[in-house]
Symmetry: C2
Subunit: 217 residues, 2 copies
């Protein structure tokens, strides 16, 4: 046979733009989830995707366009992960709703290393790049909250937005810290028992603040 310069059986690595673009998005998500936002650059992503970085510029117009593609990907993913928490019977009180939301968010965030990295990135060094990633996520989350809250309102005297922001921020920070250091403020956060203990504390705080009994009106 005459010498064929390359790719004897080219069936595997067929020249498929869509497949390559998908591989790049996947590689970018992996790089971000596993190596952190420090490594989120064209070189590392192309290396991981097994293609040339030039393709990132050609197919996505650079990192920003790629971030948009990832954001769209994430929005769909988030919707899927959020769905299980909606099918249960609707909460009877605002406190029940918030408790379910907080515990669900904790569990979801704990198992999703990609979202952890995005949150850490957003906190550590906000940039238009990470902003594009966050946008779709927060929109989808707010939408889910409105759907599940029903007509429930917080008890009078409690500043629900402030209290909820405090609790969600705490959960987010604890998940990030656990992923980074395995503990926070002396509280170990490694195995499931540790997390069960924290979840109990979250429930206790919410019930104490919003009350366990139904609201009037």
């Amino acid at each position: 046979m005459p010498k064929r310069p390359s790719t004897p059986d080219t069936a595997l690595r067929s020249r498929d733009r869509d497949a390559t673009a998908r591989a790049i998005v996947l590689a970018a998500k992996q790089v971000l989830a596993e190596d952190g936002f420090q490594s989120f650059g064209v070189n590392a992503i192309a290396r991981r995707a097994g293609c040339d970085k030039q393709l990132i510029y050609r197919y996505f117009g650079g990192l920003e366009g790629l971030a948009d593609a990832i954001g769209a990907d994430l929005a769909a993913e988030l919707a899927d992960e959020l769905a299980p928490f909606s099918v249960e019977p609707p909460p009877a009180t605002y406190g029940q709703w918030m408790e379910r939301l907080a515990l669900g968010l904790l569990e979801l965030l704990r198992r999703n290393r990609l979202m952890q990295q995005i949150n850490a990135w957003e906190s550590a060094m906000p940039s238009p790049l990470v902003g594009r990633l966050v946008e779709s996520r927060s929109v989808r989350l707010a939408q889910w909250m409105n759907e599940t809250r029903g007509g429930l309102t917080a008890p009078e005297g409690a500043d629900a937005p402030a209290v909820n922001a405090l609790l969600i921020a705490g959960i987010q920070q604890l998940v990030i810290a656990a992923s980074a250091n395995g503990q926070f403020a002396g509280l170990s956060l490694r195995d499931d028992e540790d997390w069960l203990r924290l979840k109990a504390a979250v429930s206790a705080v919410i019930r104490a603040t919003y009350g366990a009994q139904p609201q009037r009106s």
Copy 2:
């Protein structure tokens, strides 16, 4: 006059090793506080200190030694900032103590951009370098907590370590998010009124969880 190659009046920039070392530590703190841990490198610090990066290696043995020097600096600073919260009359209940601690930490952290950056750094990408910065701070804080808590103990039924970690994590995350984005989860955190509102929420949560009345025993 004959041509003198450099520094016509060398009185200002006298060759003083200690002064130069202090200038480097100051520059490093400024770089970290203002530009974030991304910029915490020998080049940026030397540029800001107005000297050559070689001196960082000579006087501190590299970035790690410099971090140790900053840590010592910070420990003293923290002790000064913590002092005002100790002079008041001792708290009567565990909840009062925790409330004072949480609000004090919030205020302290909010006004100290350097500690914000260190916390963000620690969460985003733990490294031996940032570990050296964190160590002295956490030791000093734990010491202060033991001194001010007196003999107070948490009410039975409340998992104080978990609840406190949740609250402190929330405060920390909110301060960082405010510094980065001016808001969190839709809660604006820009002017003093916003912070007053958050502080009220912190107090309300702590009182609801630990109870406003004194503990027995």
